[in-house]
């Protein structure tokens, strides 16, 4: 994975697009666009990924700037022993936090 190369205006690179539905949502990966530069990538992303779904903000990231794990290592994400204690769902405080976050979002939409 080399450093980002500067392309001429007619060469294209692949960009990952992240859409944010409301100001309080995280940016979520929604797909890719081909474009020569960030401005064009954002312009094209708007029509490909924000035409139907709500959107207040878009990010584009050049693929060469994304660093990824190897699919060959996928088994490292699989626990060997029971880790259900890591899901805080049974804690009363955790449930309260989830509930309030949901309510806040409903109010804002």
């Amino acid at each position: 994975m080399g450093p980002a190369r500067r392309l001429s205006a007619l060469e294209q690179d692949v960009w990952a697009v992240f859409r944010q539905a409301t100001k309080h949502d995280p940016h979520v990966y929604v797909g890719d666009v081909h474009a020569s530069d960030p401005e064009m990538a954002l312009l094209l992303a708007k029509e490909q990924y924000a035409r139907r779904d709500p959107c207040v903000n878009l990010w584009v990231v050049r693929y060469s700037q994304i660093f990824a794990t190897d699919y060959g290592d996928a088994d490292m994400f699989r626990p060997a022993t029971d880790r259900s204690f890591r899901f805080g769902g049974s804690h009363r405080d955790q449930q309260r936090v989830y509930r309030e976050a949901g309510r806040r979002r409903d109010d804002e939409e």
Binding site: A9, H34, S36
Partner: protein
């Protein structure tokens, strides 16, 4: 006053319908899938805007059918600028036309937003949201193609020389404009609109290494605003109205 306003609305409606139709001809043929989708989407929006303006014409008339205005008139009744009826050539030419048109449309909607005819002022405010993207898209392509490579620059300069005389037709006025300006219904003269448009596009064109050609305005003497059009419009209307003509009474 009603007749002058009607003429102004028809111009806007016809501009949007005809350029929308030309943009739609790119669907499936764009240089890449993303740009194809984006221009197709812009085409849909322009035709949608045309519908809103035709509805307003019917409102001014007190009767009428927007579909009939769009599909049932002879070429001589259309009031769009000759620029928008020209066939597409290469992608650069279409995007250059889009850019020149959107700059004009922005200036026009700014005036319309100040109209004393309240429905028009409200509509102009809403349309400006979508038109903003159209202009950004056109300008981005013009800047890139103008300055990218020697070949792209050459082709864009040739495109500009080809479309520029027709582009002047956008800002041609008629007696209706003076009436509308006097009454305050649309507080701007064609001269002021022409100045705002020329200055606006000249900046971007210069930065894109596309000097404005020295061509006499409306060299061919065509006046789309007066219903004078080319055979290109006959061909366009023939195609655009072909389905409707199969059965004009059909309900859609």
């Amino acid at each position: 006053m009603g007749a002058a306003l009607r003429e102004w609305l028809l111009r806007a409606a016809d501009d949007e319908l005809i350029i929308g139709h030309r943009h739609s001809e790119w669907t499936g043929f764009g240089p890449d899938i993303e740009s194809d989708v984006a221009l197709s989407s812009i085409a849909q929006e322009e035709i949608g805007h045309a519908r809103l303006f035709y509805e307003m014409v019917c409102r001014v008339d007190g009767a009428g059918d927007p579909d009939r205005l769009a599909f049932g008139r002879p070429p001589g009744e259309f009031r769009h600028a000759v620029l928008v009826e020209r066939p597409n050539a290469d992608w650069g030419t279409s995007l250059l036309r889009l850019f020149l048109y959107e700059h004009f449309d922005r200036a026009r909607l700014e005036v319309a937003a100040q109209s004393t005819y309240r429905p028009l002022a409200d509509l102009a405010g809403a349309l400006r949201r979508e038109e903003k993207y159209h202009l950004l898209f056109g300008e981005a392509w013009v800047r890139r193609l103008g300055a990218a490579t020697e070949e792209s620059g050459e082709r864009m300069r040739a495109a500009l020389a080809a479309v520029w005389p027709d582009a002047m037709d956008l800002v041609e006025g008629t007696e209706a404009d003076a009436l509308l300006a006097q009454s305050g219904a649309l507080p701007q003269t064609p001269e002021a609109l022409r100045r705002a448009w020329t200055e606006g596009v000249a900046v971007v064109l210069a930065e894109s290494r596309l000097p404005v050609p020295e061509v006499a305005p409306a060299a061919e003497g065509l006046r789309g605003r007066r219903g004078q059009h080319t055979v290109d419009l006959d061909a366009l209307l023939g195609e655009m109205t072909s389905v409707r003509r199969l059965d004009p009474q059909a309900r859609w």
